[in-house]
């Protein structure tokens, strides 16, 4: 069965196409693109999908999701996380290894991929652990992880404090062409801090995490990437200093890429004044100075990708005192509309915004996705960029509700999502 997506504004960052086009899907592949009407005669029986007024973009790719399976299935599963991802316009997600047990071996990777195949929704790309058990002591088995399907290694959530181990990871991962994703945090400097160190933490009397806790580790890891020639990706950049360091090391030709989350480019620490635990994240939401630097970093290309750091937690972890609450917020179902705000603010062109959610993340994990090229898998997302809606966490597909954006008025709704030419989400069919 073929599908003709007709009359939409096709945005394909890889080719630079931004025009009203028709897009033809045959089976599970993209067949052709052309000006309106050009493809009409190409096939006899096609299902026509009217995309008038919609954006037609490569399926979004999230570099940073926590699926919580195995171990904390009450927060999220591969299935529920995949449903949330599809509803947010994603066709591929990378899941972090801090499950219970940690994904430091083929057995856990296999389990995740089996669950993903059962769900048959988005592509799930597991990220393996840097160290055995994410303990920061011994290298995990990267050959086994790679063969099982891992696309990167990371000790996300638990920064690698041992600089020698980080050096060896950046060296050894090169054998298997795996990028090393750094959760850059000096855990001694961060201590038992719960929010950004600044005037707001001073007012609230909450223990603080200084920007320097991130900056010193970004410098260390960039320096180690320079030393080893390894491929480094900095996760969830939150500080102005980190943006500047990535910029400098990129200018020197070091193989470093970086991502920023919607919450770090949307919110500032001023929002914490009422102790909302949904705003407790690691790295913390920082000052307006840092926010501006992240937005500039996105605009000038220093920050390659927008990633959610979707971190589901239940009310057990969040309906408690701020000090006791778990770090993290969910983001799959709000990432695109929050990114669209950067377009509205003139910081990114529509193509640049889509690039940071598609072709750039694909390049970072080395998969041939994220572009609308004939012959490639038909992963395509249709979005209504003008549709306004009120964020309602109770409508989320995620099992968790820990979003501080509940009640926000946003613009940009996912209308339809196809993976391998198969519809995995439509607005009407909310079950996914």
């Amino acid at each position: 069965m073929s599908k003709l997506i007709r009359g939409g504004r096709v945005l394909d960052p890889a080719s630079g196409l931004d025009d009203i086009h028709d897009l033809l899907i045959e089976g599970d592949k993209i067949n052709d693109l052309g000006p309106p009407g050009a493809l009409d005669k190409k096939l006899d029986s096609v299902e026509v999908i009217d995309a008038d007024g919609l954006w037609v973009v490569p399926g979004l790719i999230d570099l940073h999701t926590h699926l919580r399976e195995p171990g904390e299935e009450y927060k999220e599963t591969v299935l529920s996380g995949s449903q949330a991802a599809a509803a947010g316009g994603f066709t591929s997600i990378c899941c972090m290894p801090n499950t219970k047990p940690a994904n430091d071996n083929a057995a856990v990777t296999d389990l995740i991929l089996r669950r993903a195949a059962e769900a048959d929704l988005v592509r799930v790309f597991p990220v393996g652990a840097i160290s055995q058990g994410q303990k920061g002591e011994l290298l995990a088995e990267y050959a086994e992880l790679k063969e099982a399907g891992a696309v990167a290694v990371s000790d996300d959530g638990i920064a690698v404090m041992n600089s020698q181990l980080m050096r060896r990871a950046l060296e050894y991962a090169q054998v298997f062409n795996l990028p090393v994703i750094s959760h850059a945090e000096d855990r001694d400097l961060a201590g038992d801090g719960v929010m950004h160190e600044g005037v707001v933490s001073t007012r609230l009397g909450l223990r603080e995490i200084p920007s320097a806790a991130e900056d010193v580790m970004v410098f260390r890891d960039c320096s180690l990437a320079e030393l080893t020639g390894g491929r480094l990706h900095i996760a969830h950049v939150s500080s102005a200093g980190a943006v500047e360091l990535v910029r400098q090391f990129k200018a020197k030709g070091v193989q470093v890429t970086a991502e920023a989350t919607p919450h770090h480019f949307t919110l500032t620490d001023e929002a914490l004044e009422n102790f909302d635990t949904n705003l407790k994240v690691n790295p913390p939401i920082r000052s307006s100075f840092d926010l501006t630097a992240i937005q500039q970093g996105l605009a000038d290309g220093t920050i390659d990708a927008i990633a959610t750091d979707h971190a589901p937690h239940s009310t057990i972890e969040k309906d408690v005192e701020f000090d006791y609450a778990a770090f993290g917020m969910i983001g799959l179902e709000t990432a695109f509309p929050l990114t669209l705000r950067l377009v509205d603010q003139g910081l990114l062109s529509p193509l640049e915004a889509i690039e940071k959610l598609t072709s750039n993340p694909a390049r970072i994990i080395g998969v041939d996705l994220g572009r609308l090229t004939p012959g490639l898998p038909a992963d395509v997302t249709l979005i209504d960029p003008n549709r306004e809606f009120t964020v309602d966490v109770n409508q989320f597909r995620s099992k968790s509700r820990n979003s501080p954006f509940h009640g926000w008025q946003l613009r940009g709704k996912t209308v339809m999502v196809l993976r391998d030419g198969k519809v995995i989400f439509t607005e009407e069919n909310t079950s996914g």
Partner: protein, 309 residues
Amino acid sequence: MQFRKKDLLGIKQLEPEEINLILETSETFKEISTRPIKKVPTLRGRTVVHLFYEPSTRTRTSFEIAAKRLSADTFNISASTSSIVKGETLLDTARNLEAMNPDVIVLRHSAAGAPHLLARHVQAAVINAGDGMHEHPTQALLDLLTIKDKKGTIAGQTVAIIGDIAHSRVARSNIWALTKMGARVLVAGPTTMIPHDLDKLGVEVFYRPEDVIPKADVIMMLRIQLERQGQMLLPSLREYARVFGLNEEKLSQAKPDVLIMHPGPINRGVEISPAVADGPYSVILDQVNNGVAVRMALLYLLIGGEKDE
């Protein structure tokens, strides 16, 4: 004017007029504590729960005396921090208490913002009796009352707060209170205990006590917690006492009518020498005395009067 707030969560949320109302009401309640029969029926039939997740003698006793002198029924619930981590959550405790219809819950908790969480989930008035390093509003109010009693006004006074500012809820509430009421606030303490961007709270920041003592009409010494030694914040209590403690030698540089205050409990010989704590400038026991009046006033303003809502 009427006091319209449901809760007292911090000084931050109070307007200067509301602070004045509390202070004026406190003055009228002081007299009750000097009577042979120290009890009035104002809050008869009302229920006040003291929910304390941190050890406290002075504050809890002060609240309890205040409630009893107004004829309220009082109940004390103490929980150690470890038992809440393992067992019932604050919200579950709150829901259980709420089912018994208390009028006021007085909460002391080691986590900043805990009273705000509680207040969002219960009908009862919540009084913050100290939350982590965040606020201790009744302490600041009794400090204001003490300054007003002794100096006549608060506006225009220069108040020096000396010691561990970073970990002090008393300092934070007093900074809000004093700046709102028009006092000039100077702080001094080791750099390791001065929080980031403190000057943006409207205070002047110094390090050495000698830099603020000669200018001060009021000196507030803060308690140093003994465990700070193990947290790389200071080399030793010995050095802290010598450089940052208040002794008679440093006090000799002060104004002749200076007031010495301390929220207690004091570490004699560390942040304050015995001679200064017990000396003629010390109003530490006046502070304790005023604490009862301030807490009576708050209970009355929160649940004693008619509210037109």
